[in-house]
């Protein structure tokens, strides 16, 4: 076959307590577009960080061979000097600097006396912009550009560094269809010019359209590398590779007996707060008493955005749609109104959005329902402690005292504090966003048990999760979300990881 530009051999990378990558190997041929696929958390980004030197030599085991020579990178600068440029999902442009300044940031065009030669800078920038097909004045500030054009500026910046290997992490995740098509077109042209490209993507239709080979990663291991010119390299084939995990009997049993509908949203739409695109697009779903409903979606599908925009419009703008509780439409335009209507939302990022880490367990548990503990604005501190103690026992929160600072607890116990806090608001529907992220297996089991107990009491629960086995193990029904749209609703007895993943990667039907 054609010669190999990059080979990563047996890469193993360990974080405290977690093996993020285990003997991952990947070979990228010169001048190809090589896609990397995998579920959230499969290890794709970690692999790219190893490659670009974010994780320096020595922090992992294995070998990186570039152009037949082993290389050792100790930082981004090292890898860039070898022609490897990575473009992250979150663009790294300085908003108030001009396009040209951004392109040459850290790599300035110097003239006499070490001063920046602006004429040459702007002339070079114009040339690079033409290459990526962006008709903009190089002196206009980046902030004036849409996200799609900013992406092109990033690529122009990469080209200015004489890139050999361009790595794109979810390049089209934030783009609309037109911009996506334009970007893919550009990647094809760059390939024809001999630039090799690694692309991480969740969008399987894009991968099948553009990639020459695809490597599938699962749970930190390479599953397989597919030659995309082969006839059987279909989306279904990739999906099988991505999800081929076993579900063990890890989930506590539960009698499923759903009752009346508790919560329903209709035609829910929300726009990104700053960008011109919908993050949730006409979503409708419902959940009944005593039922666990899952929401499955890949990174950027709009799961958290959906939940947060429903929960008192905590995210997004120009939100439209209707919320029904027990069949009656309710107003939940603020978090307080949402809570009063019996909606609770436990965030996926408990440290940033869920807990006051410098306050004690007791105050965190009471914080969303202080009204229940107070009369005329005065908090009954003893009652508060009693409630906290009750939660500590019910939830089995491991702490010597409820006066302990929450920041000192383990992740699993912090999550139990979050759950306690929301249960104390006495909600009818609980939206749990990644309830088991970053906590150990024992604590996970406990969280599942708690969820089952709640459902048995007749609460309605919505679980958002990146782990399909978790959804299959916990839920009665699963909705799939892709690009802000509900693409499917599957009863759990009919759901498999494969059919869910197919729905999760289903794009809007495009012309072309």
């Amino acid at each position: 076959m054609a010669d190999v530009l990059l080979e990563m051999r047996d890469i193993t990378k360990t974080f405290p307590g977690v093996k993020a990558l285990e003997n991952v190997s990947i070979a990228v041929r010169r001048g190809e577009i090589h896609a990397i696929c995998g579920e959230n958390g499969a290890g794709k980004s970690t692999l790219m960080k190893v490659l670009s030197g974010v994780y320096p030599t020595g922090s992992y085991t294995g070998e990186i061979v570039l152009d037949g020579k082993p290389v050792h990178f100790n930082g981004i600068r090292d890898s860039e000097s070898q022609g490897i440029v990575i473009i992250h999902q979150e663009l790294a442009l300085v908003p108030f600097l001009s396009i040209a300044e951004n392109i040459f940031l850290g790599n300035e065009v110097r003239g006499a006396g070490g001063l920046i030669d602006w004429n040459r800078t702007n002339a070079e920038a114009t040339k690079l912009l033409a290459e990526v097909g962006l008709a903009e004045n190089p002196t206009s500030p980046v902030i004036q550009l849409g996200i799609g054009k900013q992406q092109l500026v990033e690529i122009a910046k990469a080209l200015s560094k004489e890139v050999k290997l361009l790595i794109l992490d979810e390049p089209t995740a934030a783009l609309n269809d037109v911009d996506s098509a334009h970007l893919l077109d550009l990647l094809r042209r760059l390939r024809d010019r001999g630039i090799t490209c690694i692309m991480i993507s969740h969008k399987l239709n894009e991968i099948t359209a553009i990639a020459d080979s695809t490597t599938v990663i699962r749970d930190g291991r390479t599953v397989e590398t597919l030659d995309m010119s082969a006839a059987d390299s279909t989306q279904a084939r990739i999906i099988r590779g991505m999800v081929g995990r076993d579900i063990d009997s890890f989930y506590p049993d539960r009698e499923s007996a759903p009752g009346e509908e508790v919560f329903r949203i209709e035609d829910w739409t929300a726009w990104h707060p700053t960008q011109d695109r919908k993050v949730v697009d006409g979503a409708s779903l419902n959940v009944r008493a005593g039922e666990v409903v899952g929401i499955a979606g890949l990174m950027g599908a709009g799961r958290t955005e959906l939940a947060m925009s429903v929960f008192g419009r905590s995210y997004g703008r120009d939100i439209s749609g209707r919320i029904f509780m027990h069949g009656k439409e309710v107003r939940a335009r603020t978090v307080a109104e949402a809570i009063n209507n019996g909606i609770a939302y436990a965030t996926e990022d408990r440290k940033r959005y869920g807990l006051n880490l410098i306050a004690d367990v007791c105050r965190n548990i009471s914080s969303a329902a202080l009204r229940k503990l107070s009369r005329g604005g005065w908090v009954n501190g003893n009652e508060e402690i009693k409630v906290a103690e009750q939660s500590r026992r019910d939830m089995n929160i491991k702490t010597s005292t409820v006066m302990a600072t929450v920041g000192t607890l383990s992740g699993g116990n912090q999550q139990k504090v979050v759950l306690s806090k929301w249960l104390f608001t006495d909600p009818d529907v609980l939206i749990l966003d990644e309830p088991t992220r970053g906590i150990d297996v024992g604590a996970k089991y406990e969280i599942y048990t708690i969820i089952n107990k709640l459902v048995a009491q007749g609460k309605a629960v919505i679980v958002i999760s990146s782990e399909l086995p978790e959804l299959l193990g916990m839920c009665d029904r699963v909705y799939t979300l892709s690009a802000g749209r509900i693409t499917g609703e599957v009863p759990v007895r009919e759901a498999t990881q494969e059919n869910l993943m197919a729905l999760m990667t289903k794009e809007k039907e495009l012309a072309g």
Binding site: F250, Y353, I358, S367, S374, K398, T405
Partner: protein, 413 residues
């Protein structure tokens, strides 16, 4: 890094028993936390003792203790509002100007227009509230940083003060008005060379502290919370009682119980309760501790921020009355740099720069540390320049200590 573990069970790491050891906050962090909370009191005692020795006891003489109270009362009043703002993650740089403006308005009404003294008091507080609402509007509803809003306010209200006073000082206030800051409750029960009333008030305060302390302790036992051992509790009450009675004794041998001390005591008690026991107080801590989490818990952040500033305005109005009463008039330059003393008091008293941490009592002790130091150094005849250097260093080290401590706690996690 977004690595999720596969659900297969790992060896033994996931068992509940293993989680127990990591979940429990070890005794060392508890000690560290208590040390940090009591460190400020220890520092206060050391500083008081130090200056008592350096000034041959003059700093603890009846006349001087009265003086400290009178001289720094308005800073302490400001520090109450300031620490609440700092806990909420804000700051107010304008309070010095607001003290000047409120005093000026009061002086114009009472001295120039000849209205009764209480009209001046009410007007000053009303102006303070209006200024607070002004700041609150820009910070809470427009979303500007408090630093900028109150920096603008500092200039704005200083300018208005000059306008109101027409660039001249006004003086003197009627006797009733002067009493606010310079008056004493004295001889109400007679006495032989000392004021019995002051001692009785002191005794009542000690009894109140003992009873409420005992009830709190009993309630906590009822709720099966850990409490200090009974002898330790008695010792603590005895110590506090001794300090208060000594303080009362000294006051009783000077001019009696200052009216401003009563005002201050009421404010400290009320705001101590507001911060610890009310929904509003809890929400202030929640906002300062984690704004996003507070928002997602249904806290009406805008409204709480707004009322924090209105409250600061109210206290600045009170301080304006006290200051104008004490200086017996209004001057264009009144209140200069008061904001810095109030901010320093809050930080020395253990408030965290990032918000979410701090207490009213801590700020009071912080303010008293500054007061005792300034007063002691004045008594010793130390040069102004040196005083300033020392105060600056104390502030610096107090906050450095706070940051150092936080890192320790973080490392223990």
């Amino acid at each position: 890094m977004t690595s999720t573990k596969p659900p297969q069970t790992r060896e033994s790491g996931g068992s509940p028993a293993a989680a127990l050891t990591t979940g429990t906050s070890d005794p060392r962090t508890l000690i560290m936390r208590n040390l940090r909370q009591s460190g400020i009191y220890v520092a206060f005692v050391v500083i008081v003792a130090l200056f008592a020795i350096l000034t041959d006891g003059v700093s603890l003489s009846p006349g001087n203790i009265t003086n400290i109270v009178l001289q720094y009362s308005y800073i302490l009043v400001l520090a109450i509002g300031m620490v609440i703002l700092i806990i909420g993650g804000h700051i107010d740089l304008s309070v010095g100007s607001v003290v000047a403006l409120t005093g000026a308005v009061s002086a114009v009404l009472v001295i120039q227009q000849g209205l009764p003294w209480w009209v001046g008091v009410v007007a000053a507080i009303a102006v303070g509230l209006a200024v607070g609402a002004w700041h609150g509007f820009w910070v809470a509803y427009i979303g500007m940083p408090a630093f900028i809003v109150t920096l603008a306010g500092m200039l704005l209200f200083r300018g208005l003060t000059l306008q109101v006073l027409d660039n001249i000082s006004l003086s003197p206030f009627p006797a009733e008005y002067q009493k606010v800051a310079n008056g004493f409750l004295n001889g109400l029960l007679g006495g032989q060379g000392y004021d019995a009333f002051t001692l009785i008030i002191g005794a009542v305060a000690v009894a109140g502290i003992a009873v409420s302390g005992y009830r709190t302790r009993a309630a906590r036992i009822g709720y099966q919370q850990s409490v200090e051992s009974f002898p330790l509790f008695v010792l603590r009450i005895l110590l506090i009682g001794a300090v208060i009675m000594y303080f009362a004794w000294q006051l009783a041998h000077a001019r009696g119980l200052p009216i401003v001390l009563i005002i201050l005591a009421i404010l400290v008690i009320v705001y101590g309760l507001v911060t610890r026991r009310t929904v509003f107080g809890r929400q202030v801590y929640a906002i300062g501790g984690n704004l996003s989490a507070a928002q997602l818990s249904g806290v009406k952040v805008k409204s709480v921020n707004f009322w924090m500033f209105v409250n600061m305005g109210f206290l600045a109005g009170v301080a304006g009355v006290i200051y104008s009463s004490r200086s017996n008039g209004a001057q264009p330059a009144a209140g200069n740099m008061f904001e810095l003393d109030a901010i320093a008091a809050a930080f020395i008293g253990g408030a965290a720069v990032a918000g979410g941490v701090g207490t009213v009592v801590g700020a009071m002790v912080g303010g008293l540390i500054m007061a005792v130091m300034s007063n002691g150094m004045q008594l010793m005849g130390i040069d102004q320049s040196v005083q300033s250097v020392i105060k600056g260093l104390v502030l610096l080290f107090a906050v450095a200590f706070d940051i150092y401590n936080k890192r320790r706690v973080g490392a223990n996690r």
